[in-house]
Subunit: 196 residues, 4 copies
């Protein structure tokens, strides 16, 4: 059976020790990316591949490129692609921005990790993104958030919005529901050549 | 042009003075409801109709019932349904649970407001929800959150998860981005007759 | 040298495996308790004793009673009292409300844990609290928060306020500052016989 | 009667239209500043003077300088100083860093606002702060947070910690308690010449 996407529960992904974007953050990033069924999607810093997998299932007639430099991550993405039957997902083993060379123009680009090279990645993403395309970035540090806002919010022709999302899970323990905080993630969402 | 759903920006809805669920919360509620294109959906306490509109666009071959007791809300739902061309949206003017009588069995039920009558509404929702259906509840008070968890988390045959979502918008002012908090909303999501 | 109180850093306390209230929450609870230098203070569910220690140092001519039922907690409180030279701290090994019998009337009562017996503890606290005294409760579950609000916010002659506090630490890693969330804690603060 | 400090309720201050640091944030900033009774304290960007007033009451044998450039703020600080009897509070009408010239060396410096001139203010604060003194900064924008961390967290001889504080007030309405979010504030606390 095809899983309902977006919204695959976290524990259905094969995870290893790689940090994984949590379900609620992934849902918001995927929805804000407005992925169409024939879209070309780039997932930069793909980690376990959870975003790529859901994007691939949302774009059955399109193609998703998962760029990841860590061999452990590449192995997880491969395992998850097999588990969820994402045949339209292509793994690009390597570090952005170099690994982005030769990739096709994209309808949506998601930047989940930048390995300290955000400037070069944003420049490459801008070149690869089609007019009207969507650029989504997830930031978990002050520095990435600041750099991304500085680069994107004043870019001519970009419409940009930014939100921080704090998810508190209610975990049942001893008949009570504990407030259990997840780390906040900031999502920056841009439309190339148009309003937000 | 059909708007991209889910994820219609808040400012595209006609709003009046009725409080409206914010975009990120609405996206999470809609995705967790796993609405299919031919589904029957109930939106209890529909307010401005923002959830109903997006649900109707997600279920073009299905039917959405927006239950709302306030005349001002009913007028806004009607205006928004016209604006977004949601022909499969039916307004039920009245207060739940009474107003739920005669409605068909549902694949998904969203409870956005309960007017102090949550117990009766949950009992009626349980009767109307199909096996495998999804019940989603948004709580903005301690009392509703507590009552909903007590009623749902131990209900035999229900799989339940609950998360609080705090969205902080980064609002640009004077060249800087201010952290601007939205009120937290708790989302309780249940599957009838199955695991979460 | 006497440590600056309130505000002893978390890592100066001897902790073991017992969960400890984090510094910022402890500061807010201590300040809202308005402890005077000759006050009698009860700390119910004292855990590692971090609240008791700081209260004892704020009330050098007063007396603090740390009530704790777990032997591991009692040992930690004793070790911390010795480390910080809190001679005016008395440990009461036992479970509230029974363990509260025989204790003197108090100027401030802090309830950090209730072991599922909040109703009886609140009744005993009400009897022990002097007119004008302060009752502070920390809740980390929906159920405790709900029960405490229900019991305290309408109590005749009590002025009550309640806030949730979410602390996000900025942890330096690899030259960047990660947003790292702590679990939210709700603080309910009451004045007996007067406005908040 | 002398008010209990720190922790004066927000609504006891005369406020006008100037934004005011909320009570919980002010408590944490004041406690982390570790103000002694004979300390010299600078409050840069004093706004309504709420931090200055509480600092002045914590340092009855010391002196607090409230630096504020807006005439409306200066008037509010004067009114609040009179209301709370803070005779040891001196108002410096002007913009930092220029307005800091001629001020004495300080035991604690609080930066609540910087008017876009944070670099110069931090340099002046570093010169004015005594060895062992405390520098506390409140940031409400991404840019100020980023700039302050960059300037302070690697400064040789500074011990620095940083936390974000999100306070959610439980506001009673219609017999229920609504979760009502305040805007997050980031507090950076440094010790000159020593560990955090």
């Amino acid at each position: 059976m095809t899983p309902a996407v977006p919204g695959i529960p976290d524990n259905e992904f094969i995870r290893g020790d790689i940090p994984m974007t949590k379900q609620e953050i992934r849902i918001l990033a995927l929805v804000k990316a407005r992925i169409g069924e024939a879209d070309t999607v780039l997932d930069i810093g793909a980690g376990t591949g959870s975003f790529s997998i859901e994007a691939a299932l949302l774009a059955p007639r399109g193609r998703v490129y998962a760029i990841e430099k860590e061999p452990a991550g590449v192995a997880l993405i491969r395992a998850n692609a097999a588990k969820f039957g994402a045949a339209n997902l292509e793994i690009v083993a390597g570090a952005a921005p170099e690994a982005l060379e030769g990739l096709p123009a994209a309808d949506a680009i998601f930047i989940g990790g930048s390995g300290g090279r955000l400037g070069g990645i944003l420049a490459a993403a801008d070149r690869l993104l089609k007019p009207g395309g969507r650029l989504i970035l997830a930031a978990v540090t002050v520095e990435t958030l600041h750099q991304a806002l500085a680069a994107l919010d004043d870019r001519p022709g970009y419409g940009t919005e930014a939100v921080g999302v704090h998810v508190t899970r209610l975990r049942k323990a001893g008949g009570k529901h504990m407030f259990q905080a997840g780390n906040p993630v900031y999502i920056i969402a841009c439309t190339k050549g148009g309003p937000q």
